[in-house]
Amino acid sequence: MFDTVTSARALMGMSLAFHISFTAVGIGLPLMLFLAEGIALRTGNPMYREMAKRWTRVAAVLFAVGAVSGTILSFEFGLLWPTFMDFSGAIIGFPFALEGFAFFTEAIFLGIYIYGWDRLSPRAHWLCTVPMMVSAAASALFVISANAWMNQPAGFEVVNGKAVNVDPIAAMFNRAMPYEVTHGTLAAYVTTGFAVAGVYAVAMLRGHRSEYNKRALVLALAVAAVFTPLQIVSGDLSARFLAHRQPEKFAAMEGQFRTERGAPLRIGGFPDPGARETKYAIEIPRLTSILAFENADATVRGLDSFPQDAIPDVRLVHYPFQVMVASGSFMLFVVTWFFGIAWWRKRIDPGRWLLRALVAAAPLGFVAIEAGWFVTEFGRQPWIIWHLMRTDQAATPREGVAFLLLVFFLVYVALTIGLGLLLLRPSGSAARPPQEAPDVA
């Protein structure tokens, strides 16, 4: 049933999927706190201070869960993938060590920030958000650079199955790193912006159209408006990079079975590995060739052109890719709608349909993040280190991983229930908007 490798992969994927939901907010909220408290300082408007205070409590809980779930991950490297770590620890350990410092800094200043509201001067308190912001983004940068290395290994040579001549700096600055790091870090701001906006959209739909709710909504959406277009541009760059450097992943994303000149862009559709085609997709002629190679006649390699035991499962890559792109497009649409109408009418007064759309967009950042990571991780299979070490060679020799999988499944269920009880408990008075994002659990 669940052999060691399958269990280890499921456990790793589950743990990462859990962790990333919290850290996305852990990266995004410090920016929002910086803005809200900064505006409060500049304008003296106490509403923004109140906003920052309420967000702080959420940040504290989510950060705690992010920290414990991250600890699970660092142990899992050893528990599940000792062979992989034996090979790559010396190569990619360095960014993780730097990440350790970033966590430290973030944890320290978050502690000061949460508990220091009345012990520090308002200015000093506000300034605490700066190291939080920087270190959270830095931890994302470091850890994603390690993941990029798994996709584009660099900075070492292999002699007799051992890595020699290791250059940790070159490993960190591998080819995939700039693309993955940019796209993966921006995602956190997009996601946080929409998640926070969704909370206030819910409150406004319920009739609480207070000045406070409006201002909070605008602040959150301003963040979203800045980062969503950047996110989509960087996603396009990532895809183009893959077309050149990881063509099997690209082919799987696009559901491209056969090598083709002037390949169409397939929207939706059901890839069928048996029939070797993607059925019922909306095909836009030549667009994939244009997007990937800036040439309508360019040849796009299909999955057929690779050794068949070294290609990913196309379904696990194509569907998540579609989900990510659809989510991104919808988010861009909604935020454009919001500011477009506000600009047109010269005031902020979103109608019911717009608010509903904002609520619908609220969880989509998380959805896109999970989907995007599925593209990256499933698209790398069957390799744990691309073209170098296969995932099934890397797992622990220990039995009982299936049991561990079960245990941690229950752990995550318990954590999710606990968080749900904590964050979603009915808020005391109607004047007080529910401030928490329900979708982060």
């Binding site: 809980v61 920290a67 430290f104 320290i108 509201w117 020699v164 954590l415």
Partner: protein
Amino acid sequence: MSLEVLAAGVVLIGLIAYAMFAGADFGGGVWTALAWGPRARVQREAIFRAMGPVWETNHVWLILIVVTLFTAFPRAFGDLFTALFIPLSIALIGIVFRGAAFAFRHYGSEGGARLPATGIVFSAASILTPLTMGMALGAIAGGQITIRGGQVATELYEPWLRPFSIVCGLIGVAMCGFLTASYMTTRTGGALREDFRNRALAASLVLGGLTTAAIPVAYADARPFFDRLGSPAPIAVMSAAVAMGVASLVVLWRRWYALAPPVAAGTVALVIAAWGAVQYPYFILPDERIDSVAAGHATLVAFLVSLPIGALILIPSLVLLYYTFSERTDRPAPEGPPS
């Protein structure tokens, strides 16, 4: 000193710091479980309030240890997690539940929602984690993990479910309790302070008893460890640990409270340093030496260079953190975190 040994020193310092700081948080769970008498509730609350701002930072020392292990000693990292699969999994589950229970309880009670059973989970996990970590360290030092042809040769339960490891696990729990009670004497006053003083005294006696008992147990069950005890370095560090332990008894007995935290921390640091001195120059006794499992030169250089640079940011930040939150916890807080 070679780069390998320096990196191993970082692991040891990480362990000591983790024990000194996070150990006190685990001890908080121990005393939450053991709170008794008329002031049980006040004791629990004082502990909770002291931990709030610092526990997450304290926790990061563990991350530093793990990261140092896999960066500088990737072979040993893989082998340790393979050999100690079960105790490390249990320790991990303990860490997760402890952190979550603390956070949920803490922020929950501020918002007026008390989640059921978080107190019990918090205490149970706080005991389980130092116990299993102590057992793991005992297995490493006891020479119980054998490696043949690059593969871990011991069975799942063999290296750690045995008398010497169990004594080490108990030492871990006792250390945590000792640290918390000692630290709390400076953060409380009056009858509450007396409570913590008595607990610190009791814990230090237990700790002394357990560390003494560990020696005959090692003779019977962990010969490689016992055989190395007689060399000069372990003897020197162990004598210092004993002296420090006695000093902490005196300090507590005479109620020289200002001295209690540093002396308690020093005792714990020296006990762990003694463990390191016995191990040296082995990483995993008796098959893996520090230099045979270390990463290559370039990695060690990059890693070791990053440490002082990181420390330049960290140390002032840590000082700021502990300074901001160092006052007594038995008075009403000026203002807690916002709710």
